[in-house]
Subunit: 202 residues, 2 copies
DNA sequence: CACTCGGCATGACAAATGTCAGAGGCGCTG
DNA sequence: CAGCGCCTCTGACATTTGTCATGCCGAGTG
């Protein structure tokens, strides 16, 4: 019994190499490849693979978004996410999106092949180290508005612009920012953005 | 005649896949692998490869630093840098460090094999798109102190801390930041940091 | 040499940001 | 339903940051 795979990663070199390596396994066959989120969706619709192996960081739509769409359109297709730099929050969002596996790119190809089989069998697999990170990082202490405002502040926009985009007064924006900063134990909003990013909370 | 290769990348999955794929070429043989900058150096000393294929982003020391050391210790070893997200400034620094090739991870394995041969023959190869980016981005307009202060401001530290670390008055630090911001056409120091990062100027 | 230009450095002032106390609303619990 | 805790929101005030005018010094130029 062979497992039909969809491979999605924006880096041709890695995708091609991975395809070659996984094809060496007798029970795995790569039926489609994609270089972006939307392309991955289109390929999945066309080929209906058993397992979709998605990179977390892709142009167009990230792995989690693709997984969400796939869950709705192709419930029989298991999703496995592979990532370079795993942020704790991403893992949580991925699991909520119905992803069955979540592994860093530091695993070996053999291990990946095993995990693909595990996922195909209906089981879940999460890298132990990433799981530990996610647990120790815990849930986001930020409220919805705090996260929203912090998100808007992420690229260095001044308070006036954030206030306009969020339809809030400048005082309120400063207040949320201040609250987020103290909750994260940061010194100012910018380090707060960095910390929230690292934990995957924005 | 075979080309002896050193492969360095912190992601096992990619490194292993790449090694497998390049080994399919009759004239290429992977003699060593490394997962970090220092390890790459040690491996190079031990195996004296003909060509070193280095990832730009590695723990310990980045590809450019490794290339600089290699140039001094093993002048006969050509260096080829592979990168996920190519920043214009990195290309310039890489070439100054004596790197012979610079390609994004979006190339195919065949293309990479060809480039390895090109580099081994003593020629240079730079990805045309990255080259165009580097040329259009041009040289950094920042002075030494401006770049230094911007670097210290990168993680969101307050001016007082930057001033102390750079042994300058706070007014001077603000002045350099202001100057850097206007040169980069940014709205504030944080977008300036982001822009400088994108162009590889910090 | 006298002059100009650009980098380096500083303090004073204006503008943006961070902090604070408090008001209204909503859900939970006794 | 009264009381409590939390989220949301606001303006006033203190602090930090950004801008400007200015001086000093070394390199290049007529």
């Amino acid at each position: 019994m062979t497992v039909r795979l969809l491979l999605a990663d924006d880096e041709h070199l890695i995708r091609g190499a991975l395809a070659a390596l996984l094809s060496l396994e007798d029970d795995l066959v790569v039926v489609a490849e994609a270089a972006s989120g939307p392309e991955a969706l289109a390929m999945a619709r066309a080929h209906e693979p058993d397992v979709a192996v998605l990179d977390l960081q892709m142009p167009g739509a990230d792995g989690v978004k693709v997984a969400t769409s796939l869950r709705a359109e192709l419930p029989g297709c298991r999703v496995l996410i592979v990532t370079g730099h795993g942020r704790p929050g991403h893992l949580k969002r991925a699991l909520e999106a119905g992803v069955r596996g979540f592994v860093p790119k530091t695993v070996s190809a053999q291990k990946l092949a095993e995990i693909i089989r595990t996922v195909h069998a209906g089981n879940r697999y999460v890298d132990p180290e990433l799981a530990a990170d996610a647990i120790s990082a815990g849930d986001s202490p930020l409220t919805a508005r705090e996260a929203e405002v912090l998100e808007l502040a992420a690229d260095g926009a001044p308070v006036a612009e954030i206030a306009e985009r969020a339809a809030l007064s400048q005082g309120t924006v400063r207040n949320y920012l201040s609250s987020a900063v103290s909750k994260l134990g940061a010194e100012n909003r910018h380090t707060a953005v960095r910390l929230a990013r690292e934990r995957g909370w924005v």
